[in-house]
């Protein structure tokens, strides 16, 4: 049995025009320490998959097993990095991470240890210089860094990232991707990331899960990315294997799953 098991998940939303089948028979097995990217056109239900794993949404049929235990509610063992950072604007950068640390380690760590752990995680994302700033005072990229620090600080079994860099400009996104690779090399987390960026998927992940278009979206193909780590964006740009993977994903998205309305 694999570490994280998404088994035959259907998600059906009741609507005024009858039932809307968002996901049908989504099946995915993820090993410990794997970095998985789920890619697909917008509206295909990628985020729905992530929300089911997070426990924020209940599967209509099927379910999710983490270390052989069924997931049925949200919890810090499946920390989420939300698309729009969702930091609490009335708390400082430090407090935004500390609230999670206090909640998860309130009993097991002393106050001093929790302080150190908060700082440690902010250091991982290079945000130790802005501890006392509020989210309104820092840039979008920095906010997302703090969001990542907050999720990492929960020491999750699976780190869930919902299009974490979708709202950022290309340069900032590249910086954050580097940071994620650096952190991943150090911590070897199990990561499930939703993305619509082909380069991001190939650069970061061990496997790319390509989803078909909705309604009734499901796993179309899974591509294993066999590139040695650490990966360097510039070197890979001319690498034939890298470009082959890239082309595979593009072909899936733009030939086989071309959206009719996007023509």
């Amino acid at each position: 049995m694999s570490y994280l098991n998404i088994s035959n998940v259907d998600v059906v939303f009741p609507t005024n025009n009858g039932a809307f089948i968002a996901l049908r028979e989504v099946h995915l097995e993820i090993e410990k320490g794997e970095f998985i990217a789920i890619i697909g056109h917008s509206g295909c239900g990628k985020s729905t998959v992530l929300n089911v794993v997070a426990g924020l949404l209940e599967a209509t049929r099927g379910g999710v097993l983490l270390e052989n235990k069924e997931v049925n509610s949200p919890g810090p063992d499946r920390a989420v990095v939300f698309q729009n950072h969702s930091l609490l604007p009335w708390l400082t950068v430090y407090e935004n991470v500390r609230i999670a640390v206090d909640k998860v380690f309130g009993k097991s760590k002393s106050k001093a240890e929790r302080h150190d752990w908060t700082l440690h995680n902010l250091r991982l994302v290079h945000m130790e210089h802005a501890l006392d700033q509020r989210p309104g005072e820092i840039s979008g990229g920095m906010k997302q860094r703090v969001g990542i620090a907050r999720a990492l600080a929960m020491q999750p079994k699976v780190l869930l990232m919902d299009e974490p860099f979708g709202a950022l400009d290309a340069l900032t996104r590249a910086h954050l991707q580097e940071s994620v690779m650096e952190i991943q090399a150090a911590l070897n987390n199990t990561v499930l990331m939703i993305t619509h960026d082909v380069d991001e998927a190939v650069l970061l992940s061990d496997r790319i899960v390509m989803m078909t278009n909705g309604p009734a979206a499901t796993v179309g193909e899974i591509l294993k990315v066999d590139l040695p780590r650490p990966r360097n964006r510039l070197e890979l740009a001319d690498d034939p294997t890298y470009n082959h993977y890239r082309a595979e994903v593009l072909r899936f998205l733009y030939e086989r799953q071309r959206r009719p309305e996007a023509a």
Binding site: F82, P89, R134, G136, S139
Partner: protein, 317 residues
């Protein structure tokens, strides 16, 4: 009045700072593009001569002058109209000069006490403020929890909304007989009228604030497995506070408007009764002075609430 409240319940959404923003040239600054620098020959006419740089000090001086001159002009216009009314329509309206003399007299001894019904204007204002604060405090104490429940539960919202909509536009004075009958006393009735008219902005804004909480914050709370009490204390309250404070600010200004009307009818000591009393004595100059004072106290209350908002509202810090 109720229209204004309804419109003001919608808070402007503060836009987030962009990741990188282009430098915006200040007025008076010239934008020099690289292409312009690359010109081989210097321009025949120096750029400086085309647009002389305006110093910042001069810009500021102009802004300050405008801030004084423009309102000053309107103020003068009002004085002119006032004098015209005095000269052409009715001389019962005293001249600005006579009113000024009366103001000097009134403010010369603001806290005299010559008997239970004859006190300085300072006392009148303080008694009114006391009633306003009592009614306002009650409105806030009841309005915030009710607004919270209405914002958090769709059933409570559905149950209470029609009543709120019906009672909100009711004139304060319509409540006064009810207050007098129930409480059989002047002061509690006045406080009741303040309470019943100033509670609506608090309820409506608090409910809107709770409803406007981004779902993401609640998802964060769910991932962290915060309990109900923790969610209220750490997420709902701080997220709603800006809306609550807006509601309180509107409520306080309504309360201050209502007190004058209420006191006119209930009597006793207070700025509203003072106006009524001076009307009976045909001291119109005193009434005009009181109008000015009521406005000034209103501004003070408003700026106190602004101060509180700046202190507690994370959007404004």
């Amino acid at each position: 009045m109720s229209k204004v409240i309804a419109l003001a319940t919608v808070l402007p959404v503060k836009s987030e700072r962009p990741e990188s923003s282009l430098p915006v040239p200040l007025a008076g600054e010239r934008i020099v593009t690289p292409a312009a620098n690359a010109e081989r020959q210097p321009p025949a006419v120096p750029i400086q001569a085309l647009s002389p740089p305006v110093s910042r000090a001069r810009l500021r001086a102009a802004a300050i002058a405008r801030a004084i001159i423009l309102p000053g002009a309107v103020f003068l216009l009002v004085l002119v109209v006032w004098m015209l009314v005095n000269a052409k329509i009715t001389s019962d309206i005293p001249t600005p000069a006579a009113t000024w003399a009366r103001a000097v007299e009134i403010f010369g001894q603001p806290f005299y006490v010559a008997g239970p019904n004859d006190m300085g204007i300072g006392w009148q204002v303080l008694y009114s403020l006391g009633r306003v604060l009592a009614g306002f405090a009650l409105a806030v104490a009841v309005g915030i929890p009710v607004g919270f429940l209405m914002g958090a539960s769709r059933d409570v919202h559905q149950a209470c909304y029609p009543l709120v909509q019906i009672l909100r536009p009711v004139s304060p004075l319509a409540w006064l007989p009810i207050g007098l009958l129930v409480f059989q006393a002047k002061d509690p009735s006045a406080i009741f009228v303040i309470f019943i008219t100033s509670i609506w902005p608090v309820i409506v804004n608090t409910a809107a604030g709770v409803q406007a909480i981004p779902k993401d914050y609640l998802n964060v709370a769910r991932v962290l497995r915060l309990g109900k009490l923790e969610i209220t204390r750490r997420i709902l309250l701080p997220a709603t506070l800006p809306h609550i404070l807006t509601g309180m600010r509107l409520s306080l200004s309504v309360a201050w408007m209502v007190i004058v009307a209420a006191e006119m009818l209930t009597g006793g000591i207070g700025i509203g009764f003072y106006v009524w009393d001076e009307w009976n004595n045909l001291n119109v100059a005193s009434i005009i002075v009181a109008i000015g004072l009521i406005g000034l106290v209103g501004i003070v209350l408003e700026s106190l609430m602004n101060l509180a908002q700046r202190h507690f509202d994370y959007n404004r810090r």
